[in-house]
């Protein structure tokens, strides 16, 4: 049984890394006594896969992971809808499961499915008007070339095509705030890289991922939870469990 969950990462716990979060989940599954399916082979690993890594220090309303449960060891009458209530109490404060749904066995991995993320970036170093100008200039530019590093290699990349939208919104905690949708395919544009492309001394104060999107067949963005009955058995998305 393959299950996809959405969870939030908020407060102090946001300073943990993607790998830290993976370890928290491993312990949480054991504490909740959930029978995960294991890979076969010399060193069996639980079948858990995470979506796109969230930068350390960023908060998120929309993190996802897929798990596969072992149907043989699953208790009779197991209901995936129990998962948020079973998992949130055994996860650290600030990490809560907010939705769950079954996923088809052969479905693509989260990493492949996600095409863009929506971010809210509270910044310092500029006024709200200055930020608005920087954003308009960036959107008007034909190309925005910045040096980027990946796996120790620096390259000069045009990141303009990866900025799908960007606009100044209501300030967060008094800081000028930018909402943007950044592409994750073919290569992820990170919020810090966007701010580097805006230049002008913009420094991030708070970074929050609000959505991760996949592109449906009709081209519209949609959440990677298969609430749509044609894609998966119908399991209602739960309200946030606090």
């Amino acid at each position: 049984m393959r299950v996809r969950m959405r969870f939030v990462k908020q407060g102090k716990i946001r300073f943990t890394s993607h790998r830290d979060v993976a370890r928290m989940w491993e312990r949480a599954f054991r504490r909740a006594e959930l029978p995960l399916a294991y890979s076969s082979g010399f060193s069996p690993r639980p079948k858990v896969s995470f979506g796109l890594a969230l930068p350390t220090g960023a908060e998120s309303d929309a993190e996802y992971l897929d798990i596969e449960l072992d149907p043989v060891r699953l208790a009779d009458g197991f209901d995936p809808l129990e998962l948020p209530a079973r998992l949130s109490p055994v996860l650290p404060v600030g990490i809560d499961v907010t939705a769950v749904a079954l996923v088809e066995a052969g479905a693509d991995s989260l990493q492949h499915q996600i095409t863009s993320c929506r971010w809210e970036l509270a910044v310092t170093g500029v006024t709200e008007d200055e930020l608005r100008n920087l954003v308009s200039e960036a959107l008007a530019a034909e190309a925005l070339v910045i040096p980027r590093e990946r796996k120790g290699q620096t390259s000069e990349d045009d990141v303009r095509p990866a900025i799908l939208s960007a606009a100044v919104i209501e300030p967060v905690d008094g800081y000028p705030t930018l909402a943007c949708v950044l592409a994750t395919q073919p290569r992820t544009l990170r919020p810090a890289e966007l701010l580097a492309a805006l230049a002008g001394g913009v420094e991030e104060v708070r970074v929050r991922r609000t959505h991760q999107w996949i592109t449906s067949r009709d081209g519209a963005p949609r959440e990677p939870l298969p609430v749509d009955a044609t894609n998966a058995p119908s399991v209602p998305t739960l309200e946030r469990v606090s």
């Binding site: 102090k12 830290d20 599954f29």
Partner: protein, 653 residues
């Protein structure tokens, strides 16, 4: 008295591993401060990932928070990047639990597990906004306390620490809390600091260095004597007699970020009587006090359930010596609630095939490497250090390991040991080579890692009189082993930096004058000295030179029998003549078998305190004791032959 979090939070975006500073561990206490409560800040003066797992700190953290009259929080040394930000923004050292300023606590208590953290202790005191020298503090400043193994020679830190706790902390923290509580209620008036320290010096196991006068006779120490009649001339360590009465930590902290020893840890016994002469831990924690087997099982099963860990370490100084270790291990492995997914690790394995049998059972889940510590390269050397492992024990253990599927065996050795000859040093290479040869019978891919550390003589051990090898000599010995193993396929050699060994030597047997050296190294930026990227021997050499102190005199000189040692007024219960006798036995190449299963040598640890070894099972461990060749299969009924000892009557007392 408010949270500094709003000032810390913006800094965390700018530092490496910010999760070091957020707390949020599962098992973290919810400290509630109140005017009538003594507030303790427990600090491990090293990086969070090293300090968080420390069990001693976690035990005291729980015990203090259980009390109505105390509250405790934790802190760790901020990494250099955060330290720079804290200093530039004027933010003090803070607790990770509620992010309170360190200066708001009544006591700042440090755990000292290694000498090279001493400069970090000064740095933390300074970051707390407290004068680093005890003499400069007033009633508005917290009391600075320290505990842990290093306090068995407290003198190098005597100028900076107001009070040391010698020995087990479980009971004494209650008495300290009461004395400090009285001081707090009295309003910590001007001049009252002396009074509270005087009261603390009367608490058994507490050493207040400012209550003692140090006299020198030229370079030599002449005496350390109490300034007042009601201050003890000799501070005896505290010992809890029954580990079963202290099932702590009950809620081991589960960190939200990566740390060392990231697993459930259950202490199965405290103390060790193997008598390895280089080992300070074994000497100062006597006698052996085992936790009842049923309690071990309970702590393991409760702990695994609560934490979600899939690994448990049964910790002690030599875990395979726990009487009934196989039943305990079997109980964990066969516990249906563990469903075969839990691995058990036994740090500090003794060296014999029997032990490997246990190891293979517990490693069903994951089979990584096995580590043994023969410490010396030849039987002669191992008799000198009283690590009585015969070559056949080691080869039997290694054969057993490789035959059961292990591919890698790690061997720990010391070099620079008393009386060590080049033949002994080269014996390290020979043992490693023979272990590979044994392994080749089973697989061509076997790997033996020989790890060589330079020996630092420690206070309160039979080797406390021995002059440490120079770093040049240690390097020469390491090179001998390196050259001898260079062409050996299957042997890999690792070694510790002999320069760091020298600095450790300065701090480990230093007297009160070394305090100025530690301060000088710290003032010149020498923090995190146990980290190779920050360690700088030049800082230590320069400091010694500036203060006119001789490294040769402090580190490399052999001490004499009648010499006053800087820690003579601190007692681990061991008679000085026992230690001297054992040192003479070492020079005579005579080992001392484990006194758990042989008659008492009257070292003083039991007799002096009216306590005894406490074992969970009356049956000695199968396989005998550390390859001493003693047949203990009949429950100790077989007469044990003792090696000759120079002191008449010692063996039969």
């Amino acid at each position: 008295m408010t949270s500094l979090w709003p000032r810390i939070e913006p800094l965390l975006a700018k530092v490496q591993k910010p999760a070091r500073y957020i707390g949020c561990e599962d098992g973290a206490q919810q400290p509630v401060h109140a005017p009538h409560k003594v507030a303790w800040l427990l600090v491990y003066p090293d990086a969070y990932e090293i300090g968080l797992p420390n069990q001693g700190l976690q035990i005291l953290y729980e015990l203090l928070n259980e009390r109505d009259d105390a509250v405790a929080e934790r802190s760790y040394a901020p990494w250099t990047d955060l330290e720079a930000l804290l200093r530039s923004r004027g933010v003090p050292l803070f607790s990770v639990d509620t992010h309170r300023a360190a200066g708001d606590f009544d006591l700042i208590a440090f755990n000292l597990s290694a000498e090279l953290v001493y400069t970090n202790l000064l740095n933390c005191i300074d970051l707390a906004g407290t004068p680093v020298r005890a003499a400069d503090r007033g009633p508005e400043h917290p009391l600075i306390a320290a505990g842990g193994h290093c306090t068995f020679n407290p003198e190098p830190l005597a100028d900076f620490v107001d009070l040391f706790v010698i020995g087990d902390g479980e009971e004494v923290i209650a008495e300290i809390t009461e004395v400090v509580g009285d001081w707090k209620r009295s309003g910590r008036t001007p001049g009252s600091r002396q009074g509270v320290l005087r009261e603390l010096s009367k608490v058994p196991g507490v050493y207040v260095p400012s209550m003692y006068e140090v006299d020198y006779d030229g370079a030599r120490l002449a005496s350390i004597t109490p300034k007042y009649n009601d201050v003890p001339a000799r501070v005896e360590k505290r010992t809890i007699s029954d580990l079963g009465a202290w099932p702590y930590p009950k809620s081991q902290l589960v960190p939200v970020t990566e740390v060392v020893h990231d697993r459930l840890n259950v202490e199965i016994f405290r103390g060790c009587t193997r008598g390895c002469r280089f080992c300070q831990a074994g000497m100062i924690t006597r006698p052996v006090r085992e936790r009842p087997a049923a309690q071990v099982q309970q702590m393991v099963s409760d702990g695994l359930k609560r934490t979600g860990y899939d690994e448990v370490a049964l910790t002690s100084l030599s875990s395979a010596d726990y009487s009934g270790i196989d039943q305990v291990v079997g109980g964990i492995i066969n516990d249906p609630s563990c469903s075969g997914q839990v691995s058990v690790s036994l740090p500090s394995l003794r060296v014999d095939a029997y032990t490997v049998g246990i190891a293979s059972e517990i490693a069903k889940v994951r089979r990584t490497g096995l580590t043994f510590a023969p410490e010396g390269g030849t039987w002669r050397m191992r008799q000198v250090i009283s690590k009585l492992i015969r070559e056949e024990d080691l080869y039997g253990a290694v054969d057993s390991a490789f035959s059961q599927g292990w591919q890698r065996v790690k061997l720990y050795f010391l070099t620079g040991l008393p009386t060590e000859t080049d033949e002994d040093t080269l014996g390290i290479a020979e043992l490693a080579r023979q272990c590979v040869a044994v392994g080749r019978k089973h697989s061509n891919r076997v790997n033996v890692v020989a790890s060589v550390g330079g020996f630092v003589p420690k206070a309160q051990t039979p080797f406390q009189w021995f002059g440490q090898n120079t770093s040049a000599e240690l390097q020469r010995k390491i090179n001998l082993v390196r050259d001898a193993t260079r062409k050996e396929r299957g042997v890999s050699l690792k070694w510790h930096d002999p320069k760091a060994t020298m600095a450790e030597g300065i701090a480990s047997r230093g007297d009160r004058r070394i305090g100025a050296v530690i301060e000088d190294v710290w003032r010149h930026g020498g923090t995190f000295q146990e980290w190779s990227e920050f360690f700088d021997l030049g800082l230590w050499q320069d400091a010694m030179a500036r203060l006119g102190l001789s490294i040769d005199w402090y580190v490399h000189r052999h001490r004499e029998e009648d010499e006053v040692l800087p820690w003579d007024h601190i007692s681990a219960g061991l008679h000085k003549d026992f230690l001297w006798g054992d040192w003479q036995d070492a020079l005579a190449e005579a080992g001392t078998p484990d006194c758990r299963w042989t008659p008492c040598y009257d070292c003083g640890a039991c007799t002096g305190y009216g306590i005894e070894h406490r074992v969970a099972s009356a049956t000695p461990p199968a396989g005998g004791s550390q390859g001493t060749g003693q047949d203990l299969s009949n429950g100790g009924a077989v007469p044990v032959q003792l090696l000759p000892r120079p002191r008449a009557g010692a063996a039969s007392s």
